[in-house]
């Protein structure tokens, strides 16, 4: 019988668990072992959009801004929110004084300018913004001025995001494409990295924390732990056994089947992060069958998300059948276009196919066993699509092959991926006309352009609702639903805020 010690957390309720609120009995010291899903492909947070890179590197690199518990942008290395000119083109950012890098040097505006310039050159999210940035300058040692070519509302969200992060590093380590040393300003510094064995980070004694109360990853960052060891454990069963045996204090990315076992184990607390993210079928609008909007609408009409999610996650505790692109806890939540979701209507799909003049060309779904739930959804989708009259080819490859093939529009019609719910819609690349989906449409582009340049928050919410409606009308991608993520922690570990990118400042162990 599963004991009710599960920490079931909705994003909207994070505040109740925040370290700032739990000020009792924190103890200084201790070493925490964290089982992560694999070896990060790099320790340079600018270079990768992989979540495992963000999870590790956010402990030693910091950004100018970050997010609070309500996904509002708040300052981190910046002293305050920026002063924005009336035309929305100039952001003047005052920097905090007395911030020390792990190499002992002091952060100044020159380091920030060099870091942001490199971010525009090498980081996926920075490169996407490079055309909008006219200049990044340092009028004095403690001020940075970012000048845009056109107003761009998601700028601060991009500067705050730990994924493909605009991390601030000393100018001296930014000589070329590669950073020469892992040197940041974070509460922990990199001590030793043995690939596939551990990444050892230790408390940075000269860290200067912000004074505001902790709110998710923002505000005060307490350094209770002496040391954190991130241990790559690619096999999910081994992560489960390790946390149950007490070998790890925290284990990320656990299989949903292990939920009951975790709940029944002494000294272990399962953490169900609900909602975590959304699986998505991305359509190829550049080449092949899905360049025809009617065919895409037929796919949308045929699919049965509830069955797909049940096959993928096995239990209703782990998914939600939901049309909205963002859960209710987000300001972006709306129900526009929801009537076109969850149709599971093969007759309507067949009629749409007939209208499109479908000639039996196979619909190629590119997927992988890397994420088993992708494959399971693909299998169910295949049955429903065939019932509607599609010929379906499942192209099941390893993840490395998938990431290569999806860049060639001639090789696929749909590829399956997923994403955590991100703080800001503009961080999702599929809305952009330059993404590999290739969603180019006059009405959409007009809405999206206004969305990214509009600075009024309420108007942006309205514009996003319009954008969501267009997603369901034009079907550039298909959100299958929402899913929850399962993690676990040992009972003697406290101060953890459930998030897709778990962090361990503010965490502490029982004495």
């Amino acid at each position: 019988m599963l004991r009710l010690k599960t920490v079931l957390v909705a994003t909207c309720a994070l505040g109740a668990l925040l370290p700032g609120a739990a000020t009792l009995a924190q103890t200084q010291g201790g070493v925490v072992d964290v089982a992560i899903i694999g070896e990060p492909p790099t320790l340079d947070p600018m270079m990768s959009t992989a979540d495992v890179v963000s999870i590790v590197t956010q402990h030693f690199f910091e950004t100018l801004y970050t997010f609070d518990e309500n996904w509002r942008v708040v300052p981190l290395l910046a002293a305050d929110m920026p002063t924005v000119s009336d035309d929305g083109l100039t952001y003047t950012i005052a920097l905090r004084d007395g911030i020390t890098f792990h190499d002992g040097s002091t952060m100044d505006a020159g380091d920030v300018v060099a870091s942001l310039n490199r971010w525009q050159e090498v980081a996926t999210r920075g490169r996407g913004l490079a055309d909008q940035i006219a200049s990044v300058e340092a009028p004095d040692d403690s001020t940075v001025v970012i000048t845009l070519t056109e107003s761009y509302a998601p700028l601060l969200s991009l500067l705050a995001f730990s994924n493909s992060a605009a991390a601030i590093m000393p100018e001296e380590v930014l000589g070329g494409d590669e950073v020469s040393d892992i040197v940041g300003t974070g509460p922990y510094r990199l001590e030793e990295h043995r690939p596939d064995q551990y990444i050892q980070v230790v408390r940075f004694d000269d860290y200067v924390s912000r004074d505001e109360p902790s709110s998710a990853g923002s505000g005060h960052r307490a350094q209770y732990l002496d040391e954190i060891r991130f241990i790559p454990v690619p096999d999910s069963s081994t992560r489960v056994e390790g946390i149950v045996a007490g070998q790890y204090h925290y284990a990320d990315g656990l299989p949903t089947e292990s939920f009951e076992r975790l709940g029944d184990s002494e000294g272990v607390e399962p953490i169900l992060l609900a909602p975590f993210g959304w699986p998505v079928f991305a359509f190829n609008l550049k080449d092949g069958l899905n360049t025809d909007q009617t065919v895409r609408q037929a796919v949308q009409a045929a699919l049965a998300p509830e069955d797909m999610l049940l096959a993928a996650f096995g239990d209703e505790n782990f998914f939600v059948v939901d049309a909205a692109m963002f859960p209710e806890s987000y300001v972006w939540h709306n129900e526009e276009g929801a009537d076109l979701y969850n149709q599971a209507d093969p007759e309507r799909a067949a009629a749409l196919l007939q209208e499109a003049g479908y000639d039996g060309t196979p619909l190629r779904i590119l997927t992988s066993h890397q994420y088993e739930f992708h494959f399971r959804m693909a299998e169910v989708a295949k049955i429903y699509l065939e019932a509607a009259g599609f010929n379906v080819d499942l192209d099941v490859v390893d993840w490395a092959t998938l990431t290569e093939r999806r860049d060639n529009p001639e090789l696929w019609d749909i590829f399956i991926t997923h994403s955590p719910f991100l703080p800001e819609p503009a961080l999702t690349s599929m809305y952009s006309s330059t993404s590999r989906v290739g969603w180019i449409d006059e009405e959409k582009d007009a809405i999206f352009d206004e969305f990214v340049s509009e600075t009024d928050p309420d108007r942006r919410v309205e514009l996003f609702a319009d954008l969501q409606r267009l997603v369901y009308e034009q079907v550039p991608f298909y959100k299958v639903g929402g899913f929850n993520a399962l993690m676990a922690q040992s009972s003697d570990l406290h101060g953890i805020t459930p998030t897709p990118w778990p962090y361990f400042w503010n965490a502490y162990l029982d004495q």
Binding site: P41, T124, V233, Q247, D398, A400, T403
Partner: protein
């Protein structure tokens, strides 16, 4: 003799040259892109193209091959794309767990298999023989990952006698690290003992019916002396061969077992490198492993000389 050794060394060099070429071609023929994997799921296609160029992966295959051969000839195995470290250093970091896992596994396998094989042959057709044959088949049939998970759950998670996985943290002593190898060594030892039991038994059966064994018995020697001094010594050649090949197999990486126990050995290195398309690591590791294979084979031949005076080259 010297001529034989020189011929073998020449043969080894040719084998390694073939391995270099085949490995290079195969890893390049496989689809997949290290740049896309490094940049992560949200990378734009143009970012991938640029990183490929920076890594030199946009060069013609022939140019990449010539550069690779030139590096190998000068003893440089290149640098890992993902770890940003020289390949030989990456392999060196993985050598300890793999070498000790191999040694312990072989020790366990031979300790189990050789006595059972000898007794089984001696009591051919008896209850012990039937039981050992069935046991060997069972051991050979058990998937190593399953046995690993079972041992992990009962001896590590439930009993707490051994660590579940990994190879110890930064402050782990040598003894701690070896403690992490006990369960995987048992798994590999049991699984690999099956073949050695069968070879020992078959080889012993051959020699036990030979004339010199009958002669030894007719001279009134004790059965113990006949079996261990006369029969077993002459039965050793095939047994040494299979032990040597098992050793070579294990040193090249016990892929599944290393993954189940999260051991940072050669096997997990190769698997990780293939999944990440870390070409220099795949090439370098396979070359080192192939080198070890041919050297171990060569050493097995040398051992023949020592244990069987009939063998001459």
């Amino acid at each position: 003799m010297l001529r034989y050794i020189l011929n073998r060394v020449l043969g080894m060099i040719i084998v390694l040259a073939i391995v270099v070429t085949v490995v290079f071609v195969i890893v390049r023929l496989a689809p997949g892109d290290p740049a896309a994997l490094m940049l992560g799921p949200d990378a734009m296609p143009e970012d991938v193209v640029e990183l490929r160029a920076r890594l030199g992966l946009d060069q013609p295959i022939i140019a990449q091959f010539l550069r690779f051969v030139g590096q190998i000839a000068s003893g440089d195995f290149g640098e890992s794309i993902f770890f940003d470290l020289p390949v030989l250093e990456v392999i060196g970091q993985r050598a300890e767990p793999t070498i000790f896992l191999t040694l312990f596994s072989i020790l366990i396998a031979t300790s189990i298999a050789v006595p059972i094989g000898i007794v089984s042959a001696y009591y051919r057709g008896g209850l012990f023989d039937q039981g050992s044959i069935s046991g060997a088949m069972l051991a050979a049939s058990i998937p190593s990952f399953w046995m690993g998970l079972i041992l992990q759950q009962y001896l590590a998670t439930d009993a707490g006698w051994f660590p579940v996985s990994g190879y110890g943290g930064p402050d782990a002593s040598f003894a701690d690290r070896m403690g992490h190898l006990v369960l995987p060594s048992i798994v590999l030892g049991v699984v690999n003992s099956a073949l050695i039991i069968r070879f020992t038994r078959a080889s012993m059966l051959d020699v036990l019916s030979d004339d010199y064994v009958r002669t030894a018995r007719s001279k009134g020697m004790s059965e113990r002396r006949v079996v261990l001094r006369h029969a077993f010594k002459n039965a050793l050649i095939p047994v040494v061969t299979v032990i040597g090949l098992t050793f070579a197999l294990l040193i090249s990486g016990a892929v599944v077992t290393e993954r189940v126990f999260n051991l940072p050995g050669i096997g997990s290195l190769v698997v990780g490198a293939v999944l990440r398309r870390d070409y220099p690591v795949i090439q370098g590791t396979l070359l080192v492993v192939a080198g070890l294979y041919v050297v171990i084979n060569f050493l097995i031949d040398m051992v023949y000389l020592a244990i069987d005076p009939r063998v001459r080259y």
